[in-house]
Symmetry: C2
Subunit: 231 residues, 2 copies
Amino acid sequence: MNNYEQLEKIIGYSFNSKSLLLEAITHSSYAYEKKLKKNYERLEFLGDAVLQLIITEYMIIKYKDLNEGVLSQYRSFFVSEDFISEIAKKINLYNFIRLGKGEIVTGGNRKPSLLADTFESLLAAVYLDGGYNEARRIVLELMSDLIDEYIQGKKVIDPKTELQKITQKEFGYLPEYRIVKEEGPEHDKVFTVEVKLHNCTFLGTGKNKKKAEMDAAKKALDHIQSIVKAD
Amino acid sequence: MNNYEQLEKIIGYSFNSKSLLLEAITHSSYAYEKKLKKNYERLEFLGDAVLQLIITEYMIIKYKDLNEGVLSQYRSFFVSEDFISEIAKKINLYNFIRLGKGEIVTGGNRKPSLLADTFESLLAAVYLDGGYNEARRIVLELMSDLIDEYIQGKKVIDPKTELQKITQKEFGYLPEYRIVKEEGPEHDKVFTVEVKLHNCTFLGTGKNKKKAEMDAAKKALDHIQSIVKAD
């Protein structure tokens, strides 16, 4: 069994057009070295849209009680490089990407961006070769359990998103963050941010605004969870 | 023929589930007034992804020589509120949107955002009721000629996008804009921006940076066109 047959076996799909499969796993660095005309970038552009539709459709049909605002936050996460690169690792996609020598030396096949891009291009190739239902089957086999775990709260996305979900559901408003302090020299700043929930104020610190907000959200979540447990 | 049958006739699709069609054209203001549980917002969230895939697929298959960077710019335009609301007008969608009284008074059914949103929700309803191919047929019947006209240069999107397309194709680089002057009081500023192409510099002015850039791009395009005509 050659390399590509292995990949086909893993995703459970055999391509009619093997050249489409090859295109999907060809990084621009490899195409450049080998003087090939095609790399995976155009496919990736299509795959991004295929993935977006599959995930949106899955959530809209399964989670009828969640409004589009909440679903939209989840979707951002489920199509993110972070999330998709983890999915790509599940199918050992790094073993199959055709990379140029320079990229191999620097461990390109482990870069999250490259893994996520190749996953999307592979998905587009399946879509073009075998249709939407095949692409959907592959995505849902790999992702639906995880999507459910996140939406059902068994896994947590990030403190800010999680906090937002809770305040919107329980209190009907979104948390607001405010920078209360910025200290230290330019290259070594520390930001302090506060987030208020009812009468409680939570402070977070970090090297930039986002990290300070995450920290504040984390403290607010810890507080909420300690209340829930005490109930 | 009732109102909804007219809409079905216009788009050439008869719904199995009329309640899905109704959901797709129900604005939140109407749902609120009539105490209905559903408005079009969840469908719109799905429709956005359906539209994105249809347009991406169309461009990727038809325009094999355009790279994903150029296609991505076009896609942004083809899924924009501006563009989609014009498409919605072509099928007189404003006649069919169910609006609350307040929205009717303020001409809500002519708002571009509302027209674009309803078009997307209608598309999602077709997708769920009749499948992807039906949704694609409707979109392409309404849009493919326009998409072609823009991509083939018979219509122009906006000067900045157009200029970018040309410089990327002809010179292999993207235009860079630089603010060279900012004058006048805070409430009445005039920005001057320059864009350089080879040895030529074009200046544009406007009340904000974006307008000044558009003006500069327009002048660069006028210059290029005068050269092309003189050729």
